[in-house]
């Protein structure tokens, strides 16, 4: 594929991610933090986010499986997840986490379980999207092109 075309696809794809609310401005800032000194910053952060989140999601599933759910612990996990997701700009995961925490306060097991599913769902979605995005970027870099900066001026 031609580099220019790939670049356009990347831009379009990123835009759809923003449109659909998967990502927010924080992700742009993240991208801006990446420079020559730190060429793999975004990839590093994102993969850190993946590792972290998966661990947290596992922990959450386990915690909610207990006969006596320790909501404090669950809340702490969700807080972590919320923090990470907002750091990378995974907006929908973050929003799901906010809802999750509300139900944690209410100690509503059914709702929290539902929320866990929701968070997982959102997480896998955004993971998928991000992976695609990063793959595209890598392809562009491999093809010798530069990653176009996206200005979300709307």
């Amino acid at each position: 594929m031609e580099v220019g075309q790939m670049q356009r696809r990347l831009v379009d794809y990123t835009k759809t991610l923003f449109m659909e609310g998967f990502l927010d401005a924080q992700f742009l800032q993240l991208q801006q933090l990446q420079d020559e000194n730190n060429p793999d910053f975004v990839v590093e952060v994102v993969s850190l986010f993946f590792d972290d989140s998966e661990k947290l999601l596992n922990n959450l599933s386990m915690a909610l499986d207990q006969p006596n759910v320790d909501f404090k612990k669950v809340d702490a996990h969700v807080h972590q997840l919320k923090g990470s997701s907002s750091s990378i700009g995974a907006q929908r995961v973050k929003n799901a986490c906010i809802a999750f925490r509300n139900f944690c306060e209410e100690q509503n097991i059914d709702a929290t379980l539902r929320c866990l599913q929701q968070v997982k769902h959102e997480y896998y979605l955004v993971k998928n999207k991000l992976e695609t995005l990063l793959r595209l970027e890598q392809q562009i870099v491999a093809a010798g092109g530069s990653i176009p900066m996206i200005d979300m001026g709307f």
Binding site: M19, Q29, L30, D35, E44, Q80, I88, G89
Partner: protein
């Protein structure tokens, strides 16, 4: 609570009434009691016990009422006053009072009966005493007669008395013996002397018993018919007799059963003796005979009966006609009608003999008085009865019924009051419940609105974004038009949703105002430029005037202020087809001077169209009604903002609901002008949040003026905390390049000239105003200093083209550096602009005037260089880089991703970043001497949160500082820093006020939101690194 007070009041009144009742009752009873004591020592047992009972009852009542009072206070405290208690109280109250009135009735009637009895007793006793007295008098007299007889009859020989003498004497002294109807003297005659006696007298001794057996009528009475007395041991024939009883002469007294008993007893005792009552001879009336014995000689008082019998000479008898006598006696006395008197001989207890009075049925009250007629053998008594039955005790009945009525009335009042209170309470509870529900519903509605609007916004962003992208693709004109329309609609929808969201936020009280420094003039310039297109399209003149007194920088919420202005101006633009819209901003304190200005001419307006008098719009403001309460020393700035238009005005009938959400003048309005009708309501809420007021005046077909006040803080007096957020604000550009220049504004309308002057002065240009060409020329030619520019109002230009040509010609002739000419034009497209095209160095400045545009126009025309004015969008970023480069910064966060991102961000600005994942690590790293310039710490961390970690670090620092201070530790060991304090900034996702306060409390220096925002980061960091 008010209800309880009413209730308490009711109780108090009740208590008072109760006390009054009790007092009255007790007074009455006390009176009785005292009366009873004085009147008769032997107050009846019933009465006494009644009194006692009454006192007990009174005690009980008063203690009970005290209890009620006491309990009232207790119950009121607990608020839940049991209604059942009251329900029980009412019957018991009524029963109690029924009992009380019965007791009162009993007491009073017994008192009355007692009194009656006493009256009877006293009357009876009085009669008895009188009877007795009179009787005694008569008796004494009879005794006197007996002595007379013993002296003159037996003592003289021959006797000095004969029948006629005696009769005459007795007759003449009868008045002395009121009770006797007659007296007679019987002499003692032994059988042996009988013959001689009979002979001497000339008649035989007659017997009496037959007479007794066959009582005859008086007229038929003939003593000669009587049998002569049979042979007896001795006789007692009557020898003297009063005329009235002369028929008894010659009758042997011993022959009568009663008389003989009497005679025998009399001579034995030597005292007066009475017979039992019997029918008198001849008169056939009831009577008694008193008999005295006449002795031959004076006997000693202790003489034996035998001696007395032997010494007896004769017997004097007096007839007492009791019946007639008592009658006579009673007639002398008052109130004889009221009582019945019976006089009885009760010598034989079981068979009392009635002497006087009818034997009426003896029911009811009777009083018995004993009579002593001097005969110990005979007992007499007087029985008195009232003729009438006792009257009904009306006083007692009315009193008790009255008390009962009062009590039941009081009870009724209480009952009604309690019922009413209960009802009102119930209603109140119901209302409260309804209110709560309504409020809950309202909150739910607001929340629903907020949620829904929020939810709509997200997809709308997608829609709008996609439309935006669609516009970038290849589209033909029609398609482009469709897309534009769609986008416009979408934008309108988003704007609407934002409004609704605002309304909901305000209603649920979630809207909080910002406190940032801002430039009011810049905000208004912004708004002007927003509306300039529209106003130019419509040909409506738009202007803003801000008083010089208003400070440059204010602290408040610029966004919300702008929103209010936009709402008001938007409305004005919507409804104004010609004329102008003028926004004026003054200090509230200036208002008086404004009034003076406006008063000068009501026609003196911006566009010459009449306007509604704006003073009317703030007539109702509290700020002015309590002028004195403004705080002159506080740094608050009270602004008064008026938006005046010459639109169609608000119909009078709609003026009252202007500020009601979703209310528009009429359905047709929303069709012609659109909008939700929510803007003014939001504005009102926002104004209220700014501690201000909003009002308006509107005259249909003339225009409306909306005025609001708002309170801001002056930026000079407050701390650096508000270090301008709007670092990139337009106001910063206001350049100094025009400083010292002079300008002439030519405008016949003072208001418009004032606006122009205000804007030009903002650029530092000195302005003079003239209204005519000539005047302008003379000023330019004569004026002390040269004018750099002349700004001519387009209206003047168009109206008098010749004048302008003349002016231009003359201007050229002036040698002193020709001023530049500017035309202030309302519309670029207007025809007037075309007329000027040929004129040299004439620049058109389109209205609305605003500093930035004015400056740009002037720059362009005057050729002043625009140096160093470029707005540096990268300012925070660049500044941050300056601040942070080379700094050593510790980031503490338990979240790896956050840590990485934050570190990346700070590294980007050139900082040297160290990370730590736990609070304890942070403490180790931050133990003095400090190697770090600053620390960003996450607040919420497991094990040890940011607050705790900071607190500990501060403790350690404090400890070391103290020890250095006291010389325990050398300053050198701590890099010569005698007061170590590392900057710790909290990183937090929730930027709530409470969190900020908590941060400051535990020793943090500030906070930044997570993820970092360049501006905020810069603001915080710049406080430490200079």
């Amino acid at each position: 609570m008010r209800l309880l007070h009413v209730f308490g009041f009711g109780l108090k009144v009740g208590h008072l009434l109760w006390m009054l009742c009790c007092w009255v009752a007790s007074m009455v009873s006390m009176n009785w009691f005292i009366n009873g004591e004085f009147k008769a020592a032997k107050a009846s047992l019933l009465g006494a016990s009644g009194n006692k009972m009454w006192f007990k009852f009174w005690d009980k009542i008063s203690s009970h009422s005290f209890k009620i009072h006491h309990e009232y206070y207790q119950y009121v405290g607990s608020k839940r006053f049991s209604k059942a208690w009251w329900r029980k109280l009412l019957p018991s109250w009524l029963i109690g009072w029924v009992l009380a009135s019965v007791v009162i009735f009993c007491c009073m009637s017994s008192q009355a009966a007692e009194k009656r009895k006493e009256t009877l007793a006293s009357m009876c006793d009085e009669r008895a005493r009188m009877l007795q007295d009179q009787f005694n008098v008569s008796m004494n007299h009879i005794q006197a007669i007996s002595i007379l007889i013993s002296t003159f009859h037996h003592g003289k020989n021959p006797s000095a008395i004969d029948q006629s003498t005696f009769a005459r004497y007795a007759e003449r002294t009868a008045f002395e013996r009121p009770l006797t109807s007659g007296v007679a003297y019987a002499v003692r005659v032994l059988h042996s002397e009988r013959e001689q006696f009979e002979k001497q007298r000339g008649w035989s001794i007659k017997r009496m018993d037959t007479l007794e057996q066959n009582p005859v009528h008086k007229d038929d009475y003939n003593p000669d018919l009587l049998e002569s007395s049979p042979v007896q041991e001795e006789y007692a024939p009557v020898i003297f007799a009063q005329d009235i009883v002369s028929h008894v002469v010659s009758i042997d007294m011993l022959s009568g059963k009663e008389d003989s008993k009497n005679v025998l007893r009399a001579r034995k005792s030597g005292k007066g003796v009475l017979t039992s009552p019997f029918r008198l001879l001849k008169t056939n009336r009831l009577g008694v005979i008193l008999t005295f014995a006449v002795y031959k000689r004076d006997l000693p008082s202790n003489a034996t009966p035998n001696e007395r019998i032997k010494a007896t000479n004769g017997y004097l008898g007096g007839v007492f006609d009791i019946e007639s006598l008592v009658e006579k006696l009673l007639q002398q006395l008052a109130s004889k009608q009221t009582i019945l008197v019976n006089v009885l001989d009760t010598t034989n207890r079981s068979y009392p003999i009635s002497m006087y009075g009818s034997n009426a049925s003896d029911d009811g009250l009777e009083h018995v008085s004993h009579l002593n007629f001097g005969d110990p053998f005979r007992k007499h008594e007087m029985r008195c009865r009232f003729k009438q039955k006792p009257p009904w005790p009306w006083l007692a009945i009315t009193t008790s019924i009255g008390i009962l009525v009062i009590a039941s009335l009081v009870g009724h009042i209480f009952h009604a009051t309690v019922n009413r209170i209960a009802k009102v309470e119930d209603d109140c509870n119901k209302m409260m419940e309804l209110k709560r529900q309504a409020e809950a519903a309202d909150v739910a509605k607001s929340q629903f609105l907020a949620t829904v609007s929020h939810e709509i916004r997200t997809p709308m962003n997608g829609v709008l974004g996609m439309l935006h992208m669609l516009m970038d693709t290849d589209l033909d004109v029609t398609q482009l038009d469709y897309v534009r329309t769609a986008q416009a609609s979408g934008k309108a929808l988003v704007a609407l949703i934002n409004e609704v969201l605002d309304q909901a936020k305000i209603e649920s009280g979630k809207l909080e105002l910002e406190e940032v420094q801002f430039d009011l003039r810049a905000v208004l310039d912004d708004v002007l430029s927003l509306f300039s297109g529209k106003s130019q399209d419509k040909g409506v003149e738009l202007a803003v005037y801000i008083s010089d007194q208003v400070p440059e920088m204010l602290i408040g919420d610029p966004g919300r202020f702008r929103q209010i202005i936009i709402n008001l101006m938007g409305n004005s633009i919507k409804f104004t087809q010609k004329g102008h819209i003028l926004v004026t901003v003054h200090l509230v304190e200036e208002v008086d001077s404004i009034e003076v200005e406006t008063e000068s001419s009501s026609k003196n307006t911006l566009s010459g169209f009449p306007v509604a008098d704006r003073r009317q719009s703030w007539k109702g403001f509290r700020t002015f009604s309590q002028e004195g309460s403004m705080h002159p020393f506080s740094d608050s700035i009270n602004l008064i903002v008026s938006v005046e238009d010459t639109g169609e005005g608000i119909p009078l009938e709609a003026q009252s609901r202007v500020f009601t959400p979703f209310m528009q003048v009429g359905p047709s309005i929303s069709r012609t002008h659109g909008g939700t009708g929510i803007g003014l309501s939001i504005s009102k809420c926002l104004v209220n949040l700014m501690k201000g007021e909003i009002g308006f005046v509107s005259i249909p077909k003339i225009g409306s003026t909306f005025t609001f006040t708002a309170v801001f803080t002056s930026s000079f007096s407050s701390s650096k905390k508000y270090k301008s957020q709007k670092i990139n604000n337009q106001s910063n550009f206001v350049s100094t390049e025009f400083h010292g220049m002079r300008a002439l504004v030519m405008d016949p309308r003072p208001v418009r000239a004032k606006v122009a002057k205000y804007h030009i002065q903002r650029l530092g240009i000195h302005v003079e105003i003239v209204s005519k060409w000539k005047q302008g020329l003379s000023i330019i030619s004569k004026g002390g200093s040269a004018k750099n520019m002349v700004l001519i109002e387009q209206e003047v230009w168009d109206k008098d083209l010749r004048g302008s040509a003349h002016f231009l010609d003359n201007l050229d002739k002036i040698n002193r550096g020709t001023p530049k000419l500017f035309l202030l034009s309302n519309s670029i497209r207007s025809s007037g602009a075309n007329n000027t095209s040929g004129v040299r160095n004439l620049t058109i400045i389109p209205k609305p005037l605003r500093a930035s545009m004015l400056a740009a126009s002037l720059q362009r025309a005057m050729g002043v260089e625009n140096k160093g004015n470029a707005y540096n969008g990268e300012l925070p970023r660049a500044s941050l880089q300056n601040l942070l480069i080379g700094r050593k910064i510790l980031i503490v966060d338990d979240n790896n991703v956050n840590l990485k991102v934050a570190a990346g961000a700070l590294k980007k600005y050139g900082a040297d970043v160290v990370t730590a994942a736990r609070g304890i690590e942070a403490i180790e790293l931050l133990t003095p001497p400090h190697q770090f310039d600053a620390c960003f710490m996450d607040i919420q961390m497991p094990e040890m949160d940011g607050f705790e970690a900071t607190r500990r670090i501060r403790e350690i620092e404090q400890d070391i500082n103290n020890r250095i201070h006291f010389g325990e530790l050398s300053v050198e060991a701590y890099n010569n820093v005698s007061n170590c304090h590392v900057a710790i900034l909290a990183m937090t996702a929730d930027v709530i006020q409470a969190t900020q306060e908590e941060c400051i409390r535990c020793g943090m220096d500030g906070y930044v939101s997570k993820p970092f925002e360049a501006e905020q980061l810069y603001r915080e960091v710049s406080r430490f690194f200079q």
